[in-house]
Symmetry: C2
Subunit: 437 residues, 2 copies
């Protein structure tokens, strides 16, 4: 008898909570790249994976990789994964839910048809060692290794105690020289990731699941408005006053107005600093950090240009100057369209209604893996829109629906030859073209 | 022969620079209430005052008080003064210029008519021990003692090392029990203060001197906008976003717009703090300090009310709340009108043109002394509008004109019996009324 999905969903949640106890900071969940607590996570997951019939290894980047073999040795391989690391003082679901859900999928498959022949494709579950960028101030170390882009520069990065990425790998008992063996081979044909939304959109629309159409492109920059510090009481308003904060405030209002008027754009000024340290001093300098995201790069670039132009004009009308430095200019990453359509269809069958098509405002491992194979992401509703917070949760009913969606997706690949060909065949063709280029 | 005013002006500047070397922090000028360096200031000034024929004492609040006697023992007494303390890392002229200029006036009087009979009024030069509020976070300690308002609560205030005002007085070799003897007696009839403008108005109008009509009233408050911290990428614009910083920015723009449209009003938001510590986090809380000043209290109160109403509306349109706390609500202080008219007339005779009538955007000892006797302030142009800064200067030509204005003022009091009666008589009448109330 197949366990009722709700029960399995509750088990998924319980496993995530158990894994959240693996931490390097007692009393909270903080687990960075290959920190000691990662051994405990690997041990727990490995136990469940092996019990589900998978073979497990840890690659040289510290990624936990479990293989469910196919009927034939050289069959194509579906990847399912997410990350095992956390931010400081994290919740129990961001990242690791996708791995635990993958394990449950394998278990559900086995329960569904214990006597059935293996699938015509292998499944590799991947628990990425790093996605959050906490320890080395650079994210995606695990998935970069998977696509062969964990380069020498990155390996030489140091954490706050001076330990390099390469040293961290060695300290965990691994060998950086083996990194080439971590790179995906050509049998991989698709990547599927389950992740909490980390935002309020699904909840606000009363929708349990969303299918990601693209990961938004992102610009981050710092603007420094420079006016003249002066006495707030003795400096009259107008041309004798060069108020850097007033100029910035006018600009911040315009950033919000423009983003509201541009569908899908988010633009935020959150971290700021005024040079004025007293209530009676006009700010001579004001520093503002701008974050702009959109699924369409041209739309994002036009917004950024408008914001820069407007800042210059808001500044100059007050005898203030403005300078900017970009720290991030990262293009949008569209998800694989045939794969995403198959995932959306599977979710629709599971839910009895179409899932919300959504742009992901945050980065995910899928945006790196998609450099090699098509990728798709299924979002689970985040209650309260809460993430990166100890109070982060998921609803058991939503987890059950995500699990059913995954099962529908796997059944589709197994039973619907046309879909399978559309997804796996595209990769095979692209790879043949790569070789001939 | 009378020394040319320019030479005397240069001597005034040189003396201010010499006094600026008396500091408690080597390499800069920092001289707080009764700090050790104040002994050196007292010694230098006392030498010049005695040489000019004055008797000198230090009252129990540490004010340096020099008397030039009148022809008769119970004659009315004109006060001239300013403060001897400084902010941290100060310039050489804020405050002390008014005392050094007073000494030079006495010297100029003596040189002008060495054989002449004494004036029909005494002159008391006062170097106030404290005006800036640095050491005990409360300003005007010196002038408050003069008007009998250095109360027990103030005497019990402590500095950062736990020393009380009373202890600081004792440590300087003075006796707090003698404070009643520091209070002005009824012979004082007017107070005259020379001070740098500390703002750019006179310079921008190419005017060496200004006569203060009023010291502006002042409101200081802190507004705390509370929204909801959230992910800048995954939280869409609009009703799901509660951006405390965006609400505050809209309000800051309105504060500036309203103040520009209201003649004489200055309103400033300079010191602010965002709760967002990262470029990708929406500010859940934003704290802004507001400073509002105007010579008319009703105008200022109306502005403050508008700012509070507008803040509430800018906040609520974003699902943000706003709370405020007032730290200062200080009424405007008009200067004595007959005295101010006499000073303006004297300055006009000295300059050959009318001085600028100006509101003082900053507080001065005159606003405390005026609680007992009419007060008037003559502003000297601040080059670059610069004050509270080591680069603070005055022009020798402006100092010469201020000195001539002072001489014209003293000659007017001496020679024009009607003016003298108008000023001194008003005080005498008021004091009689006080007694009868």
């Amino acid at each position: 008898m197949i366990a009722p999905p709700t029960t399995r969903a509750e088990q998924i949640i319980a496993r995530c909570r158990e894994l959240a106890l693996a931490t390097d900071v007692p009393g909270e969940t903080t687990r960075t790249f290959l920190a000691p607590s990662m051994h405990q996570v690997h041990a727990l997951l490995t136990g469940w994976m092996r019990a589900a019939g998978m073979t497990v290894r840890v690659d040289a980047a510290g990624n936990l990789r479990a293989l469910l073999p196919a009927a034939t040795p050289n069959a194509p391989r579906l990847l399912i994964g997410s990350h095992l690391d956390t931010i400081a003082n994290a919740g129990a679901f961001d990242g690791i839910l996708g791995v635990v859900l993958g394990v449950a999928l394998i278990e559900a498959l086995a329960e569904e048809s214990p006597t059935r022949a293996p699938l015509p494709f292998a499944i590799e579950l991947i628990g990425f060692s790093e996605e959050e960028g906490v320890r080395f101030a650079k994210p995606f170390l695990g998935s970069l290794a998977l696509v062969g882009q964990l380069d020498a520069t990155t390996l030489a990065l140091t954490d706050p105690s001076g330990i390099t990425v390469a040293d961290a790998i060695r300290n965990f008992g691994l060998d950086p020289a083996q990194l080439p063996a971590a790179v995906l081979d050509d049998s991989a044909f698709a990547y599927l990731e389950f992740h909490i939304e980390q935002g309020p959109v699904l909840e606000s629309e009363d929708c349990p699941l969303g299918v990601v159409e693209a990961i938004v492109g992102q610009t981050r920059m710092q603007l420094v408005f420079t006016g003249q510090a002066n006495h707030a009481g003795t400096t009259p308003m107008g041309r004798l006053r060069h108020d850097a904060l007033a100029a910035a405030a006018q600009w911040i209002v315009e950033v919000e107005r423009y983003a509201l008027a541009c569908p899908g754009l988010v633009a935020t000024v959150g971290k700021v600093e005024s040079s004025s340290g007293a209530g009676n001093v006009i700010a001579g300098r004001f520093t503002a950090n701008l974050d702009v995201r959109h699924a369409n790069d041209a739309t994002r670039h036009a917004a950024v240009q408008h914001f820069l132009d407007y800042a210059a004009s808001a500044a100059s009308s007050r005898g203030v100057t403005v300078a900017h430095t970009k720290s991030i200019d990262q293009p949008a990453v569209p998800m694989g369209s045939a794969l995403t359509a198959a995932l959306a269809g599977a979710a629709a069958r599971a839910m009895g209604r179409a899932p919300r098509r959504i742009a992901s405002g945050a980065g995910h491992d899928a945006m790196i893996v998609v450099r090699r194979v098509p990728a798709a992401i299924l979002f689970l509703r985040s209650p309260g829109g809460l993430s990166h917070h100890p109070g982060e949760t998921v609803l058991a009913g939503d987890v059950a629906l995500a699990l059913q969606s995954g099962m529908e997706f796997l059944r589709g690949l197994r039973d619907d030859r046309a879909t399978f060909e559309r997804i796996a065949g595209a990769v095979a063709r692209r790879k043949r073209e790569d070789i001939h280029e």
